[in-house]
């Protein structure tokens, strides 16, 4: 009788574990899959970080699974020549993650679709993407236009209308399969990231092993991580780092006053105009500072893309393939007046 009871307990426990595993693997497979961050970042003395030219990396997170290939110039997108071919009208799309499409499940970001549309219409237009993902980088983007992007001799720069212009001296570095984001304002921030990754690879290894094999463990971690109001502390942070494969130190962020940001944009536009480069601000949803930019002779293109769930990934807020397709189609029509007739008539 005693033995039968033991069997029952064992059977019940095993059944519960297996049922939970089957349940989580069936219904939450995508949300609970093991994440991977692409190991494509390196320090950049000018803009704090950049993509390593000709590198590849794997992105794996809910809704997104792909291999990222960085081109010869250090951007996510098709390779391009630094020198512009004679007769080509060169458009460079500048911005952060949505402009680059790095966090798009698939490869057809809107600059690529836009290129296809121009090709279909036999127009001698080249669309290049020069975007680097990350938050608080709007000021870095402006700096990058001045220092790097003008070297590619664009005829037109389409700049995402991201305001305010901010920065945070954040650099990104890859270390033992994790992405570290730390502030160059403090020497201790890098060590903070390294210490956490080292702990995950040594003392916390049994827990990470359990996380890898068990969806029940992953579900428990997700439950804890998603409820910061109830669960906080060092181990929750470790769980989050392991799940995201990303560790970020405390960060200082800075914002330019509106007066200063408008002055910087005016100065940039002046410098670009001298080099016969047209600057256009691109807004996906609503116009931002349209009147003030018009006063500086800077046009804006607003695409009125609805902020709908159907245009974002299910588990990630970045634009999905449908949104990129819609952006490209609308952008093509809006750009018509900015493309010289001799290019259109080819």
């Amino acid at each position: 009788m005693k033995i039968r009871k033991k069997y029952l307990v064992i059977f019940a426990l095993i059944s519960i574990i297996f049922t939970l595993e089957i349940f989580f693997r069936t219904f939450t497979f995508e949300q609970l899959k093991v994440n991977a961050y692409p190991m494509i970042y390196e320090f950049d003395s000018l803009n704090y970080y950049r993509y390593k030219p000709n590198s590849t990396g794997l992105i794996s997170k809910p809704s997104i699974q792909k291999t990222v290939v960085i081109n010869n110039e250090g951007y996510y997108g098709p390779a391009f020549s630094k020198e512009k071919l004679a007769g080509k009208f060169r458009i460079i799309v500048v911005g952060t993650s949505n402009a680059g499409g790095i966090w798009l499940h698939g490869s057809k970001s809107f600059p690529i679709v836009l290129q296809e549309i121009f090709n279909r219409h036999s127009q001698n237009v080249e669309v290049i993407t020069c975007a680097i993902d990350g938050i608080n980088r709007n000021w870095e983007t402006i700096k990058a236009i001045r220092s790097k992007i003008v070297q590619y001799a664009p005829d037109l720069i389409l700049l995402e209308g991201n305001f305010p212009l901010n920065f945070d001296h954040r650099t990104r570095e890859c270390y033992r399969g994790y992405l570290m984001e730390y502030s160059t304002d403090s020497r201790q921030t890098r060590q903070y990231c390294i210490d956490r990754i080292d702990a995950l690879n040594t003392t916390l290894k049994p827990l990470t092993w359990l996380y890898d094999i068990s969806y029940t463990m992953r579900a428990a971690c997700k439950y804890v991580i998603d409820r910061p109001e109830s669960f906080q502390g060092e181990y929750v942070e470790y769980a989050r780092i392991y799940r995201e494969k990303n560790v970020a130190s405390a960060m200082l962020y800075y914002t330019l006053s509106h007066k200063r940001e408008m002055k910087e944009i005016a100065d940039l536009n002046l410098a670009l105009t001298e080099q016969a480069i047209k600057l256009i601000f691109l807004n996906y949803h609503e116009p931002v500072f349209e009147d003030e930019l018009r006063a500086l002779s800077i046009p804006t293109i607003t695409l009125d893309i609805p902020e709908a769930d159907s245009l974002a990934h299910e588990h990630d807020a970045h634009f999905n393939a449908s949104a990129h397709q819609l952006i490209a189609e609308r952008l093509y029509l809006k750009l018509e007046s900015f493309i010289p007739n001799k290019i259109k008539q080819l």
Partner: protein
Amino acid sequence: MMARQRRLLFFLITLCVLVILFIEYLNLQGTPSFTVAHYPGSLQMNCNIDAAWQTISSDTLSTITFGSEFVESSNDLLCTFKQMWNDEALCLLVTVHDDRIFKPTKIDSAYQWLNEWDTDNVTLFFRRKSTDGGGEIVQKRFICGVHGTEDATDDGTRYQLIIDADKYTLEIALPWSVLSIDPRKDPVYFDIQVTDHDKYEMPDVVASRETNLGLSNYSSDAWKSVDHYAKMILSVAEQ
């Protein structure tokens, strides 16, 4: 066969216990408590109680909830506080040692994009007893420069914020009526958060806070949940 099953059972139970212990560990980080001395007299809410403070020992706000990487020394950021109570009010004396004090006179267009919580400030959080018996959060923020001389707020709270070269001192008398708490009956839960803002000398650029000190072992977001507040133990009044 039996031995193998026993081992399996042992493994499963150990696994369950470990998971439970891990989850409990996350929750059992302990609620700090502070004993608050009773002030044997009628407190006039004019913050003029300096002699009384000398008899009270101070506590240190030692937990860095955000930005420990930016603390260079104790001159950079160190906070001590004292508390007293009587039937009228709860009084606090908060001293913050800070070698670089940011003191805007007001948060206006000159500091566009500057968040109040990104300044050099002391923010107090209390759990106010609501009519349905639950708790809601009362927040009082005192910003260097913006809040200066002795003043009375709308709800009867009195304070004085004095800024010296390398420290600032906040003295506050908070009526119990503001908290809807009867100090002789109700438990008092609170949090003190001190923010350090050092990067303020760039023209037309506003920086975020560097460091945050708090009472609990949790993050600077601990104030959102009264579960993470510290408990005040009000010492019984001397008869």
